[in-house]
Symmetry: C2
Subunit: 116 residues, 2 copies
DNA sequence: TCCTACCCCTTGCATTGCAAGCTACCTTCC
DNA sequence: GGAAGGTAGCTTGCAATGCAAGGGGTAGGA
């Protein structure tokens, strides 16, 4: 059943692996954001993401020194972690952005060559 | 050290996850091929692949009924498995190709929005 | 016979998206 | 004041999958 929606969803889920980190870096680069901001942005871009994916990713980015955060009070609810990119994070963003463009170019060339 | 070649290689390796299956389907769709043909095609397209990646992938595609193969004698060396797509394989190829285009569109929109 | 090239395959590991569930804080309502 | 609900952050366990490393079998030449 390769055509039903479920199957297509899984395919896209697999493809998202590896580019989610780039997406998150892109959003954080815009300015200070906290987790829910990122979730909303990525959902709007049809890069479906859930909390259980994002929090470990943010922790990993923090441990790798690509992002930093500071606590900030909220008017309605518990305090939030507002993230921003470090210099190394901006560096990595550039590298991943380039890697994406190369991958996309390779893929498009392949698809064109075998013209589906 | 997000800029050294090693790091960039890892980034691209992560991104390749999920699209390799599509690449292999694309190549097999061209006509009957065996493992080394596929490896050469994908390396030429800068989608670096090694045997340890390709063989399990081919086995999975076979188990999923997306490809079939027949043994064929070789002039120089052991017999080869020549692969071809099944009807379901062609179906999946279409689906994955569509999924790729959607993902690429989402990514490019994101990159453009935050214009790196 | 031994060596090289070719071909297929398996095992074990690391990464990572995700479902599911938990804790804690703040506001609102009774 | 206490309970309920929403907000925010996080953890655990699982599944998928690329890859390094290694194995074994066949053909042909030195």
């Amino acid at each position: 059943m390769p055509q039903n929606p479920q199957e297509t969803t899984n395919i896209k889920a697999q493809m998202r692996k590896g580019v989610l980190e780039l997406c998150v870096l892109l959003v954080i680069d815009r300015g200070e954001v906290y987790a829910n901001d990122i979730l909303q942005e990525l959902r709007a871009a049809e890069m479906i993401v859930v909390e259980g994916t994002l929090y470990p990713l943010l922790s990993r980015l923090k441990n790798d020194g690509l992002v930093s955060y500071n606590w900030s009070e909220s008017k309605s609810g518990p305090p939030r972690k507002y993230y921003s990119l470090t210099a190394e994070g901006r560096h990595t963003l550039q590298a991943q952005s380039g890697a994406w463009k190369e991958l996309a170019a390779s893929m498009n060339a392949l698809i064109k060559k075998y013209s589906v």
